[in-house]
């Protein structure tokens, strides 16, 4: 999960407001833009097939892994990669359910192991057909349909300038000073949000709802995706955010700052293994398969740690930067099996809503 950098803007076109001065030209060109807008990029690269990849927003941002992965894959595939960045991981699944078989996606990057049972139940996915022998993730995840491309542990990341004594456990987070707020993500749209929901459930079981009610006093806001929540931390609106143990590496490497740190929790940390899969109805099944294989190749795995700020799921060509050695490594990894999550997600989300609602 990446962090934002200044956004470089291309300078090749005239300002749109200038064209407002000649209304008729504006209208005609605008209508043309809408009608032919979708066709335009395809026309430019007519001869090449286009591979549409659904993913979450921070993956495709120019500071994220998207641009490098795209460039790397396009070099070998003779195709064009078209990213569609949605709010967050769960939103990808929602979108797929909504579109059903008519979806224009060929590949989906950014679901996690908590969602795969539900994703398979849509019947939209086909076996990945790639060689996964290089994959090595905690718990040894292996699946015929979904391919893991990176992983990380959820963690509360805090601003050390705003919080003197960070929570040492989930329990301390729940019962801590309500004046020290945390921003969390919505489990209905975001995989980190779902991750915290499952983390709480794993640790507290049936008393999770009561614990959520207690924690709710510390929650500043619930955002639809990871990037909003993390933005609240870095802009100083909130001193704690639900993110990953790997997040501080970004600040160390890119900003040479150890201001933002992950808190190690006694109860252990819930793991997220991010996965990709291909859509059965795709017009380019071979390209989709190649893309998935590329995602776990050393070339792509080298890109992910320092752009998506997660740990590589397969062998990298070069060793990880030193900053990764100093990260919190949980003593205990927590997880549910995908089927349990699929069976209970709705009920647990309902419980969460009731605890945080009024």
């Amino acid at each position: 999960m990446p962090r934002m950098r200044p956004f470089p803007l291309s300078n090749d076109k005239e300002a749109p407001l200038g064209s407002l001065q000649s209304p008729s030209i504006f209208v005609v060109s605008a209508v043309a833009a809408i009608v032919f807008g979708a066709a335009a990029p395809a026309a430019a690269e007519e001869d090449k097939p286009s591979l549409t990849v659904y993913t979450y927003e921070s993956f495709v941002a120019d500071y994220g892994p998207g641009p490098q992965i795209k460039a790397g894959f396009e070099k070998i595939c003779g195709c064009t990669v078209k990213w569609v960045g949605l709010e967050d991981g769960v939103a990808i699944l929602n979108r797929l359910k909504l579109e059903g078989a008519s979806t224009s996606a060929d590949v989906v990057v950014g679901l996690d192991t908590n969602l795969i049972a539900e994703a398979k139940a849509t019947g939209l996915f086909a076996p990945h057909g790639a060689d996964t022998s290089a994959v090595d993730v905690p718990g040894g995840f292996s699946d015929p349909v979904f391919i893991p491309y990176d992983y990380g542990w959820f963690a509360v990341v805090y601003d050390s300038q705003a919080i003197g004594a960070p929570p040492q456990s989930l329990e301390e987070l729940v019962s801590g000073n309500p004046e020290e707020k945390i921003a969390i993500e919505d489990p209905r749209s975001s995989t980190p949000g779902l991750g915290l929901l499952l983390w709480m459930k794993k640790v507290y079981g049936d008393s999770a709802e009561a614990k959520w009610r207690e924690l709710s006093k510390r929650i500043l806001t619930v955002t639809p995706g990871w990037s909003e929540a993390y933005g609240l931390l870095t802009s100083g609106e909130v001193p704690m955010v639900l993110s990953y143990t790997t997040s501080p590496a970004y600040h160390v490497i890119e900003e040479e700052s150890d201001r933002y740190r992950a808190a190690a929790f006694d109860e252990g940390h819930y793991i997220q293994i991010e996965v990709a899969g291909r859509i059965a109805s795709s017009d380019h099944p071979d390209l989709a398969r190649d893309f998935l294989a590329y995602l776990i190749s050393p070339a792509a795995q080298d890109v992910l740690p320092t752009t998506n700020w997660m740990l590589p799921a397969a062998a990298t060509a070069s060793p990880l930067p030193d900053a990764f050695k100093e990260l919190v490594t949980p003593d205990k990894t927590l997880s549910f099996d995908p089927q349990t999550v699929a069976d209970s997600r709705r009920a647990w989300t309902q419980e969460w809503l009731q605890a945080l609602g009024r």
Binding site: M4, F7, L9, S10, N11, D12, K13, E14, A15, P16, L17, L20, F26, V27, S29, A30, V31, A33, I34, G37, A38, E57, S58, A61, G85, E87, V90, N94, K97, L98, E99, S102, E179, D186, R188, S189, S216, I219, L220, T221, V222, P224, G225, S227, E228, Y230, G231, T234, S235, G236, E237, V238, T349, Q350, W352, L353, Q354, L356, G357, R358
Partner: protein
């Protein structure tokens, strides 16, 4: 009537008054039918989906959903209270105080209504957020920083948008007090308190029911503010819950259930509005001020100026924040960004199409109503006239997000929802603008009818010729105003867009929401400034056009 003096060549010599009327009514009915298909289609889709909702009882007993309904009502009631109570001293001070910029202040109080809600939300965070100006001030005074998320933020934002509206309505009511009364109050040297009790309060009281119910209605249907400032399940309104049921849970049954509750609530609020307040005027006029003769009292004058200063600072600060933050961003680079250009294009086309459609629907409705009013057997046609009148305001009961939800579910069965998105958004925006357009056009049309009907009849002026020589000159200016208003409304809309927006269909507010989401704060600020400036310019143009000729 400009053409009245010279002989007219009539294009349709055979046309008589009744054929003319029939044509007009037919056109009106066509517009009603189009509306009925659009709104009815949404309703049908929702109800068809409702059949498949097995357990309404379980939904009704859901603690979270009960909380949502309660919160919707609670935040609306509190927002209304804050806006109205805050507006009271402001309106009194504004009417009493003698200072040169009064017209300017009244015009400032128009602005929040023209500002796209999302831009307003961003500005509220900048002013009232944890790192905002007010928070800094409070922190230096030794208190804790403010929390703008949740109920407090929603209330601040609603007050920002509605307090000026309430104040304007109250000032308009005070302007209605006859000049003689003020003169008498001066001659009797009434104290400010007595003046308030005898003159000001009775005048303001007449405006209260209308203002209160209107603001309550606006707050009950609030979407964008709650989406951006809500802060989670504890501060969710029905509109946001409908959106989430579709976009997060993909649970059409739940969306239908919530939509029905929402329609019920708004219908109730609208019924109260219609019953309590005759159509609320004061939206556009700046009002004429009667001379007052209050005894000069230093204390009252200081109090007035203090109240005014606080009120103006409250309303003005978000605008200043928008400008300051916007100018800090790289506007040139932003304008050169192809994504921004495409969103601007899309917004432009959607807004132009929506505004055109809105006029095409509203004008025949009103012409038909007027034609029926003019017929001899007007009593017989009362029901028809009511139909035309009501259709224009129907959308107030069925909020855009509900219309959007209905079409979303319906289109899903036949086609790719996101491919049909632009059309639904255009139609929804057009229908959203109709109540306002009706309010602008109807009085102009009525005045013109009163002045020219008999003459036109006696000249045998019917059909297109009548349209050209009678209605067109009278409606030209209000039509331009309506068009500008509808443009601004559609440019700033996020309600329908939130549901239908996608990678391939991005308008400026949607892009703004995306940039806010990915915390490109500078980009968001720049976009907010562009969008806000565009809408305010359109509204300024509209307001200028509407000022009576003798106005300043």
């Amino acid at each position: 009537m400009a053409a009245g003096a010279r002989p007219l060549r009539l294009s349709a010599r055979q046309m008589t008054g009744s054929t003319d009327r029939r044509w007009r009514v037919a056109a009106g009915l066509a517009a009603v039918a189009a509306l009925a298909v659009f709104l009815g289609g949404a309703g049908f889709a929702l109800l068809a989906q409702a059949d498949r909702t097995p357990n309404l009882f379980a939904l009704a007993s859901d603690r979270y959903l009960r909380g949502v309904v309660l919160f919707t009502l609670e935040q609306a009631a509190l927002s209304t209270l804050l806006a109205v109570i805050g507006a009271l001293p402001l309106a009194v001070a504004l009417h009493r105080a003698r200072f040169p910029g009064r017209g300017l202040v009244l015009r400032l109080f128009l602005l929040p209504q023209a500002l796209p809600v999302l831009v307003g939300a961003l500005a509220i965070i900048a002013v009232w957020g944890r790192n905002g100006v007010v928070s800094d001030l409070v922190a230096t005074l030794g208190f804790g920083r403010l929390n703008v998320y949740g109920l407090s933020g929603i209330l601040i934002a609603h007050t920002f948008f509605n307090l000026p509206l309430a104040a304007r309505l109250m000032v308009a009511a005070l302007d209605g007090v006859p000049a003689e009364s003020w003169k008498l109050a001066g001659q009797l040297s009434l104290t400010p308190l007595t003046t308030f009790r005898l003159l000001e309060w009775p005048a303001i009281r007449t405006a209260l029911p209308g203002a209160t119910s209107l603001i309550f209605m606006l707050c009950v249907t609030s979407f964008t503010l709650v989406l951006t400032l809500g802060g989670g399940p504890g501060a969710t309104t029905l509109e946001v819950a409908i959106y989430q049921a579709l976009r997060y849970d993909f649970d059409p049954g739940l969306a239908v259930f919530l939509a029905l509750i929402q329609i019920g609530l708004t219908a109730l609020a609208l019924a109260v509005t219609l019953r309590l307040g005759e159509t609320t005027p004061g939206g556009f006029t700046l009002g004429r001020r009667a001379r007052r003769y209050d005894p000069a009292q230093g204390f009252v004058r200081v109090l007035d100026l203090a109240v005014l200063a606080v009120g103006i600072a409250f309303v003005l600060s978000p605008f200043i924040a928008t400008i300051v933050a916007g100018l800090r961003s790289d506007l040139v680079a932003l304008l050169a960004d192809p994504n921004v250009q495409r969103a601007a294009m899309t917004s432009g086309v959607v807004a132009l199409a929506a505004a055109t459609l809105a006029l095409l629907l509203a004008t025949p409705l009103l012409l038909a109503r007027q034609a029926l009013a003019r017929s001899a057997s007007s009593r017989r046609h009362a029901a028809w006239r009511g139909l035309f009148e009501l259709s224009g305001s129907l959308v107030l009961v069925v909020p855009p997000i509900v219309i959007g939800a209905g079409w979303f579910l319906l289109l899903r069965r036949v086609t790719d929802v996101f491919a049909a998105a632009p059309f639904v958004v255009i139609a929804t925006n057009a229908v959203m603008a109709m109540p306002f357009i009706v309010r602008i056009l109807a009085p102009a049309l009525a005045t013109s009818a009163e002045r020219h009907d008999r003459l036109a009849e006696s000249l045998g002026l019917f059909g297109l010729a009548r349209l050209r020589h009678v209605e067109w000159p009278a409606l030209k200016a209000p039509l331009a105003l309506s068009f500008a208003f509808a443009l601004a409304l559609s440019l700033g809309d996020l309600g329908a867009m939130a549901l239908f927006g996608s990678q391939d269909f991005v308008t400026l507010p949607y892009l703004l929401l995306q940039r806010m989401g990915s915390y490109r704060t500078a980009d968001a600020a720049g976009l907010a400034l562009l969008l806000g400036a565009l809408c305010l310019a359109l509204m300024a143009f509209a307001e200028r056009g509407f000022r009576p000729e003798e106005g300043r």
